[in-house]
């Protein structure tokens, strides 16, 4: 029972960690407070669930869901860079639209996957490891995401992405269109978020229209915990650090549930955790001045 609780938190933390990395890309690397996330995580789950009950290969749905998330990011990017709508509002507009779109995709507010095969049913490790089947599959996906992202951030385009959030004036003077870079960052971030959503849907065995509410705060909480643990100086370590942050965050949520809080209290608890972290001066100075979630 106890071990089961740990493994579940670990698995959830890893899956949501992919979402948290998406949040890290927009909020931290790009310095763009993107609220699309609440919608694109549901989008990922919705696309996968619908495809799975239609009979597609669950692994294929991972890819399609990721792609769908990229489109969501494109829309937010379009609103911001082409129509000059403020970042926050651009994200909220996409998120709101996605609510209707996700309902359209699913055809109803909830799709159960209990009687369908998911990636976790298809992936089978023989021998005595089979009880860790799900964990190993999740670890594999997380590893692929981490390696892809870290390698990407070492390319010229990756450098441009990092610099755009840091100093857009410098980036433009390096002959780079910061608008394109923002667009690319939003696409990558929301692809990750939707991939995470697709995994969550298959892991928990259903997609639900309201499953995305509060995702952004959970993502931020994971990012902040990861940064406190790893520190912000070691750039390439912070990315795995966020996964660890996400695992710890899920762990504390599970712990809160076990200590008697109702599931409906969790959003409030999470918000309180984030507020606590953002308002603690010592931690704040430790994090440096780049937290744009706070009012100046």
């Amino acid at each position: 029972m106890h071990l089961g609780f740990l493994v579940t938190s670990l698995e959830q933390g890893l899956i949501y960690g992919i979402m948290a990395i998406g949040v890290y890309i927009t909020f931290r690397i790009l310095d763009f407070a993107d609220l699309t996330v609440d919608g694109s995580i549901t989008l990922g789950a919705a696309v996968s669930a619908k495809m799975i009950i239609t009979g597609y290969n669950p692994f294929l749905t991972l890819i399609v869901a990721t792609f769908a998330g990229g489109i969501a990011g494109t829309i937010t990017g379009f609103l911001n860079t082409k129509l000059n709508i403020a970042p926050l509002l651009s994200g909220i507009l996409t998120m709101t639209s996605l609510y209707s779109i996700n309902l359209r995709i699913m055809g109803r507010p909830n799709i159960p996957l209990i009687s369908n095969e998911t990636i976790f049913d298809l992936f089978n490790i023989p021998y005595n490891l089979s009880s860790y089947n799900e964990l190993i599959l999740i670890l594999l996906v997380v590893l692929v995401v981490l390696i892809t992202l870290i390698l990407f951030l070492k390319t010229k385009l990756g450098f441009a992405l990092r610099a755009t959030g840091d100093n857009p004036v410098m980036v433009r003077s390096m002959a780079i269109n910061t608008k394109s870079i923002k667009m690319i960052g939003l696409i990558i971030a929301n692809s990750f978020v939707a991939l995470s959503g697709s995994l969550i849907g298959q892991y928990q065995g259903f997609a639900d229209i309201s499953m995305g509410i509060g995702t952004i705060i959970a993502g931020l909480a994971s990012v902040i915990i990861g940064e406190v643990i790893i520190g912000r100086d070691s750039f390439y370590f912070i990315i795995p650090g966020i996964i660890i942050g996400s695992v710890l965050y899920r762990g504390s949520i599970s712990f809160a549930l076990m200590s008697g809080f109702a599931a409906s209290d969790l959003k409030l608890l999470t918000a309180l955790i984030v507020i606590l972290f953002l308002s603690t001066p010592r931690i704040k100075s430790y994090l440096g001045g780049k937290i744009n979630v706070e009012a100046d």
Partner: protein, 266 residues
């Protein structure tokens, strides 16, 4: 090589706050010109350089570079042939990235959107070489984040980044103004060295009249959005600070009387 024709910039057009920062400026810059620009606060010096760099749309006028009309070209595209160093040492570099990472972006200026590795062995060699030329020991600190550098070190780095791929035009906006006097002298010497080594056409704003006379082959004075004085070659060599002050006061007064005249007409 660079021509400004009737360049006018009014900020906040059609509002109560409308500011005419540049008024019908005509300027022809020749190849290898090193022009120093002086003028009082708010004279329009920065606006002039920003117009050339394409930071904003002009109210009217044209900018021609090497026979190409670049008036409508966005800022980031002009950056392919324009190098810039700003007054604020924080503006020219990415503080969270390392010295090497910053310089690599400058070296990759025309290929910055590719998925190739940003840094490789060959590039690291070139970066070290360039860094050792500026004599600050930065070549041994490639992995230091730029936010840990002093203002002078950052300006030297920015200068290097702006010129590492030789630009057609270099724009310097009081790039030593935020530095202590000793560091300012060093950066000025470095500027001089880079510009003369590579023969880069340069426009340099300065508040230091001595620098304005010592550097370059041509001097412009601005006032109220206009070029009020333009001197070059031997004539410039023979000028003194007193000459400059005299001219400035005379022109300034003229402007003042003109303003009064307009007011009394209204």
């Amino acid at each position: 090589m660079l021509k400004l024709i009737n360049v006018t910039k009014t900020f906040n057009v059609n509002t109560f706050n409308a500011t005419k920062a540049l008024k019908n400026v005509d300027l022809e810059v020749k190849n290898n010109d090193f022009i120093t620009i002086i003028g009082g606060n708010g004279a329009g010096k920065s606006t002039l350089l920003n117009s050339i760099a394409g930071v904003f749309d002009l109210t009217c006028g044209d900018i021609i570079l090497s026979d190409k009309n670049i008036t409508d070209m966005p800022e980031y595209k002009r950056a392919n042939f324009i190098g810039r160093v700003f007054q604020d040492p924080l503006m020219g570099t990415s503080p969270e990235m390392t010295i090497e990472e910053n310089l690599s972006m400058a070296l990759n200026k025309d290929t910055n959107l590719s998925l190739k590795w940003a840094v490789n062995k060959k590039k690291r060699g070139r970066i070290k070489e360039h860094l050792s030329e500026i004599n600050l020991g930065l070549e041994n600190r490639l992995d230091t984040k730029v936010k840990f550098l002093s203002g002078g070190q950052r300006q030297a780095l920015t200068l290097l980044m702006a010129t590492i791929i030789e630009p057609e035009i270099l724009l310097l906006d009081e790039h030593t103004a935020a530095l202590d006097p000793a560091t300012a002298i060093k950066i000025n010497e470095l500027t001089q060295k880079i510009i003369s080594n590579h023969k880069i056409t340069t426009l340099m704003i300065t508040h230091n009249m001595k620098d304005a006379l010592n550097f370059g082959n041509r001097l412009l004075m601005m006032n109220h959005g206009k070029l009020i004085f333009d001197v070059q070659g031997q004539t410039k060599e023979n000028m003194t600070i007193n000459h400059l002050l005299e001219i400035f006061q005379k022109k300034h007064k003229q402007g003042f009387y003109n303003d009064r005249a307009i007011l009394s007409l209204a």
